[in-house]
Amino acid sequence: MERNLTLIVLFSALIVVLGLVPAILLGFGVPITMQSLGVMLAGAVLGSWRGALAVLLVQGLVALGLPVLAGGRGGLGIFVGPTAGFLIGWLPAAFVTGLVVERIRALPVSVAAGLGAVLGGIGVLYTLGIVGFWLFKNAGIGPEDTPMSLWSATLIMAPFIPGDLVKAVLAGMIARTIARYRPSALIARA
């Protein structure tokens, strides 16, 4: 019980600290930070429930007004902005990543964690992020206006996907390292 709490707490801290690692800037000024790698790892290492709770704790810190997101961002504003779906989507993203590692035991850890990160950290996350943005964009438009299509919303978010694919591969490699040197630490499969 106590160990569950401390694991959740420490992975929350890891997610926050990874947001402070200097970001790589893509050509057009889109920042890529390692914070979402932390979300993928929380799911892959801690498993679905604990991973999701670690993310929930980070989200709680954001709501409390602490600058724990990459670039020192935080506060309630993020939850009501056009990119709120991505922040909220971290929760199911970590959950699904963990679920894949827990359930598909036939796959080696690296493949399962990488696959989980692609399904959760990209598939689920972008679905929520894009739908959230699309709803925000189309809320309250008049009858004479043309609503934005889901496809256009997807195109706007698409530039971020290659970076997240790299992070999914990294999550798989790091999960494999953890499982190899300390098998008991990979709680998702313990």
Binding site: M1, E2, R3, L5, T6, L7, I8, V9, L10, F11, S12, A13, L14, V16, V17, L18, L20, V21, G29, V30, M34, L37, L41, L57, G60, L61, L64, G65, L66, P67, V68, R73, G74, G75, L76, G77, I78, F79, V80, G81, P82, T83, F133, F136, K137, A139, G140, I141, G142, D145, T146, S152, I156, L170, I174, T177, I178, Y181, R182, A185
Partner: protein, 215 residues
């Protein structure tokens, strides 16, 4: 770790946190379906007026907080300009500024201890699940204690790497960082157990002392 709340006291700091959160929720629900420039413009004016009442420094912080979403506003406004629908682009941009500005106003004017007290009050139903209602506050306290710790360790490992390799450490030190963190989790769990654990102790008179909160 510093909260984004402003250190000085303002008129808005004196309002109860629960009231500010409730009014914010109502304003969000009201602004979301508004599709007119005047409606969203009124929202922006309200947010700007509230933030301006806190002073110059607060206004700069509030404006800086909008920066991370400005790229998406720029993309959308440019797209609408190209489509010849200026009004829709304007409504979107104003809504982003209004909603985020109002929410950030609450963040700027509500000190962390007040929000944690609010969380503790809202966590009371946890007791029915056999969990301590102080668990969320404990978790927040612990994570705030460990962020600087983990950050220092990350910097230390980066230095150690740099002393031995001409290449950048980048993601190579995440696994060793995770190992040290898993050790911490074991030791911290032991320390919590040694102080009575985290299960609620409703009848024991020493309940307060048995809970290792805040240290």
């Amino acid at each position: 770790m510093l909260s984004l709340a402003l250190p000085q006291r303002s008129w808005a700091h004196r309002l109860p946190a629960s009231l500010k959160f409730a009014v914010l929720a109502i304003l969000m629900l009201g602004l979301m379906p508004l599709g007119t420039v005047t409606g969203q413009g009124a929202g922006v004016a309200l947010a700007a007026g509230l933030v301006a009442s806190l002073g110059w420094q607060a206004s700069v912080i509030a404006l800086r907080a909008l920066r991370p979403v400005m790229w998406i506003v720029a993309v959308i406004v440019a797209w609408h300009l190209w489509q010849g629908e200026l009004r829709q682009g304007a409504v979107f941009g104003l809504r982003v500024v209004a909603m985020m500005g109002l929410a950030n106003f609450v963040t700027l004017t509500t000190p962390l201890p007040e929000i944690i007290a609010l969380v503790e009050r809202m966590a009371q139903p946890l007791a029915r699940l056999g969990l301590s209602p102080r668990l969320p506050a404990l978790a927040v306290g612990l994570v705030l204690r460990f962020i600087p710790e983990l950050r220092a360790r990350h910097a230390e490992m980066t230095d150690a790497w740099r002393a031995r390799s001409p290449r950048r450490a980048r993601t190579k030190i995440i696994a060793p960082l995770a190992f040290s963190l898993l050790d911490d989790a074991d030791r911290l769990a032991e320390a919590l157990r040694a102080r009575g654990g985290i299960a609620p102790v409703p009848t024991a008179p020493l309940a307060e002392e048995r809970h290792p909160y805040g240290t």
